[in-house]
């Protein structure tokens, strides 16, 4: 076993070294200009746009929560807040396809998207007389703030909360949470704007060209692909498989809004968006680099992305029910996402290692 492994290593080394030492024509083409353009257009069309949308939706959500708290909450106001919450989730879940940079290093992800919620403490907070100031909410543990406590408060345990069931304390807490989410997502959005000091946009688009973070364009490309691999693995092996294997709906991440399958789908759509370089506006993406050299890989990737999204779409009941009642559909989704992960990791990653440096 050990021996064959070393032989593999050696043969790999010989093959690649021969390729490298031979004349220029046979070396893989590295189009530095296109690569730079892809990194730039990714930055504007994905992080800037998706985080921009996220920040805008959470800002609207805050306004709607304030409206709920003014002159008595109506069901129409509550429904509007729920719709906006789902729209903000859509942007956020798509952004999880590029979970690197400030969202990770500045701890924004855990502060806005921690699961499970600490319900014991949440109930105790609501029953207390603590004043939910901005600073107080900001100091709370991660499991007491962000998307999921907001979800619990506006949807209720069974997803059917009525406006008149919102207590004054619910609304005070909700207002504090919405304000905190608005602030954190605004910070996240700012972190990718070129005008911000220590802008991550600047670090990313200048990869291999004086970037403080990315010494080469290849390192930025690897970051992109590894992030796509990472979210596929997280969705198939974590978010779906863990509640499914345990047959335990309480492990589901977004149970109150019954939004889990939409979340998973948006994660994969995020992967697709990164590959295409398109969230709303279309630009140069990884797709363009792949298509220049390997149409088969491009086609395979698109097929796997579409299959994964279709497999999720084929689960027609809420995830908490599906893990009990629709095991075949759930397993098919796990498999389809795992296949997407595999082609990203085993084909797209080696591809970019040849076509970026």
């Amino acid at each position: 076993m050990k021996k064959s492994y070393i032989n593999l290593l050696l043969s790999g080394a010989v093959v690649v070294s021969l390729a490298n030492c031979s004349s220029d024509e046979s070396t893989p083409a590295v189009n530095t200009e296109l690569n730079a353009q892809v990194l730039t257009e990714f930055s504007t069309n994905l992080p800037q746009t998706v985080y921009g949308s996220l920040a805008s939706k959470t800002s609207t959500l805050y306004d709607q929560v304030v409206a709920l708290s003014t002159d008595g909450a109506t069901d129409a106001e509550l429904n509007a807040a729920r719709t906006t919450w789902k729209q903000a989730r859509e942007a956020w879940e798509q952004s999880e396809a590029f979970l690197f940079g400030p969202v990770s290093t500045e701890d924004i992800d855990p502060r806005i998207d921690t699961w499970p919620v600490n319900f014991q403490d949440l109930d105790a907070q609501l029953a207390s007389e603590n004043e939910f100031t901005e600073a107080y909410i900001d100091d709370l543990d991660d499991a007491l703030k962000g998307f999921h406590p907001i979800e619990y408060l506006i949807f209720g345990e069974n997803g059917d909360k009525a406006a008149d069931e919102l207590s004054a304390r619910d609304l005070e807490y909700l207002t504090g949470l919405a304000k905190n989410l608005k602030t954190l997502t605004a910070d996240l959005n700012a972190s990718w704007q070129p005008s911000t000091s220590n802008s991550y946009y600047t670090a990313f688009v200048n990869a291999g060209n004086g970037s403080a973070v990315y010494p080469t364009q290849l390192s930025a490309y690897e970051e992109l692909v590894n992030a796509m691999v990472g979210i596929c693995e997280e969705v198939s092996d974590g978010k779906i498989k863990e509640p499914f294997v345990a047959k335990d709906p309480s492990l589901e991440e977004s149970p109150f809004a019954k939004n889990s399958i939409i979340d998973f789908t948006n994660n994969i759509k995020g992967v697709q968006a990164v590959y295409l370089g398109k969230y709303t506006a279309d630009g140069k993406g990884l797709e363009d680099v792949v298509r220049a050299h390997n149409l088969q890989l491009d086609s395979d990737l698109k097929l796997k992305m579409a299959s994964a999204i279709a497999a999720l779409d084929n689960i027609k009941v809420p995830f908490g029910e599906a893990i009990i009642d629709k095991p075949l559909q759930v397993q098919a989704a796990i498999d389809a996402i795992a296949e997407l992960k595999e082609i990203l990791d085993q084909q797209l990653l080696p591809f970019v290692q040849q076509h970026a440096k």
């Binding site: 492994y5 593999l8 290593l9 043969s11 790999g12 080394a13 010989v14 093959v15 690649v16 070294s17 021969l18 390729a19 490298n20 030492c21 979970l99 690197f100 940079g101 400030p102 990770s104 290093t105 500045e106 701890d107 855990p110 921690t114 699961w115 499970p116 919620v117 600490n118 319900f119 014991q120 403490d121 105790a124 907070q125 207390s128 100091d139 543990d141 991660d142 499991a143 403080a212 973070v213 990315y214 010494p215 390192s219 690897e222 970051e223 590894n226 992030a227 691999v229 990472g230 693995e233 092996d237 974590g238 863990e242 309480s250 492990l251 990791d345 085993q346 990653l349 080696p350 290692q353």
Partner: protein
């Protein structure tokens, strides 16, 4: 962060690495140079991005990869107040809510910014004297670690205030630099703090490569020890023997900022218990036991034996990132300076792990951790003045340097040393004192170009 890597990638990239050599003079390919790219031996991984410290050993069998995955999942789980359907048992007093809250991306923590609360930094405390095993003497009413947070309605032990004072220095060539000196104070204790409490701030260290470090033979570590400085080079190097809870005896400490922890398992169990308030078979009692915050819930372990073992296995099987640009001319010149400055006396580059038939992945690997796993007197400015087993108040374990150049991309900062006081690699060097005084002076006397080369070398690790 979940990552599995495959052998195909490993040999592809080795192929590229070898090809670099293949294109230059044939005699440049020496065994030692070649291996040096692979900081973790066969367990070297090739992710240079945010996942650099989160990648599993490349050649785990699928069954072992599965255990790694279970540990990975547990490492990310957030604990909440009991009773709860998922992950109950947080606190009642704690430092943080999940492993990954401090070890973000399996990497290095940073001190809180102005106005932020402590997140990936904690404070160890003790009073003069020792406990039954020669370890730190716990503070009555507070224990050996300060928990600065509590679940709802539970008073934290105290709050921590950090203040920095800048001091200006100059290199021999006249360039100025500044170091920030921290002062720690404990505020609003839930009950009166006894006099003479010693405090030791500790930042969350990276958790990759620890299985390989654990696999270094004790004899190989002791071979570098020179407690009485018999060779008269100004560098001693002391093994720190600490209480091994599982084995019930003193064994060589390898982990933690003072090497006061003998195994990855005990380190993990201790972190569950002290940092999160999660009881387990190694540390079965709540840290608040005997204090007014104690809720009397010691009835069952809050993390199961198998899950604890899975988490320890996860940590043991996180691979070490490969070096970048190890053959760059500037990097090689920096490496030469690293050796000339006697940095490599303590930051020992190379070990071969022991043979371990029960754990083939970590067995007999040539690794490049850049540590001797011994403790050294680092001088007055870095001293915490709090002994921890055999390590005195001025002694710290030589920090491993592998992967250090990826700190910025993984964790978004360059805060180094035990409490993150250094803001660049160069500042971290200039904090060295005591046994490393001569090395610091060496760097201080370098030209700017040479200092930059030295930093380039460190960034390539």
């Amino acid at each position: 962060m979940r990552k599995d890597k495959i052998i195909v990638r490993l040999f592809m990239i080795i192929g590229i690495i070898v090809s670099v050599y293949a294109c230059v003079e044939p005699d440049a390919l020496q065994d030692s140079d070649y291996s040096e790219w692979l900081s973790g031996g066969s367990q070297t991984v090739f992710d240079n991005g945010v996942g650099a410290f989160s990648t599993a050993f490349p050649n785990l069998t699928s069954a072992r990869e599965h255990v790694h995955g279970i540990g990975d999942g547990a490492f990310g789980q957030t604990f909440v107040t009991a009773p709860a359907p998922i992950n109950p048992g947080l606190g009642p007093i704690f430092n943080n809510v999940s492993c990954t809250s401090c070890h973000v991306n399996d990497g290095r923590g940073k001190p809180p910014g102005a106005g932020e609360q402590l997140s990936s930094l904690l404070i160890r405390i003790s009073i003069p004297g020792t406990d039954a095993h020669g370890g730190p003497n716990p503070v009555p009413g507070f224990g050996g670690q300060l928990q600065q947070r509590g679940i709802f309605g539970v008073a934290p032990e105290a709050l921590v205030k950090i203040e920095y004072t800048e001091k200006q220095y100059t290199f021999a060539d006249g360039e100025a630099y500044s170091l920030r000196f921290p002062t720690y104070s404990l505020q609003n204790p839930y009950t009166a703090l006894p006099a003479g409490v010693m405090i030791s701030p500790r930042i969350a260290p990276p958790v990759f490569g620890l299985g390989l470090l654990e696999a270094i033979d004790e004899a190989d570590i002791l071979a570098n020890a020179d407690v009485e400085d018999m060779n008269d080079d100004g560098i001693s190097g002391k093994p720190n023997y600490a209480w091994n809870v599982v084995e019930g005896k003193m064994t060589l400490g390898k982990f933690g900022w003072k090497a006061a922890n003998p195994s990855v398992l005990q380190q993990s169990a201790g972190a569950y218990n002290e940092d999160m308030g999660i009881t387990n078979f190694i540390f079965p009692h709540e840290t608040a036991m005997g204090q007014s915050q104690y809720d009397g819930r010691d009835d069952e372990y809050e993390v199961s034996d198998s899950l604890l073992h899975s988490v320890a296995f996860y940590i043991r099987t996180l691979g070490v990132p490969a070096r970048r640009s190890a053959d760059d001319a500037v990097v090689l010149q920096g490496k030469k300076l690293f050796v000339e400055g006697k940095c490599a006396q303590c930051h020992v580059p190379r070990f071969r792990t022991k043979t371990d038939v029960a754990f083939p992945e970590i067995s007999n690997q040539v690794i490049f951790p850049y540590t001797d796993v011994l403790v050294h007197d680092m001088g007055e400015d870095l001293a915490d003045n709090r002994p921890d087993f055999d390590a005195n108040g001025r002694e710290w374990r030589t920090a491993p340097l592998w992967g250090i150049g990826l700190t910025r991309i993984v964790n978004g900062h360059q805060n180094f040393l035990h409490d993150g006081r250094a803001r660049t690699l160069l500042e971290a060097i200039m904090w060295h004192g005591g046994e490393a005084e001569q090395s610091k002076d060496f760097v201080s006397n370098l030209s700017k170009t040479d200092r930059d080369k030295l930093v380039k070398f460190l960034e390539s690790l």
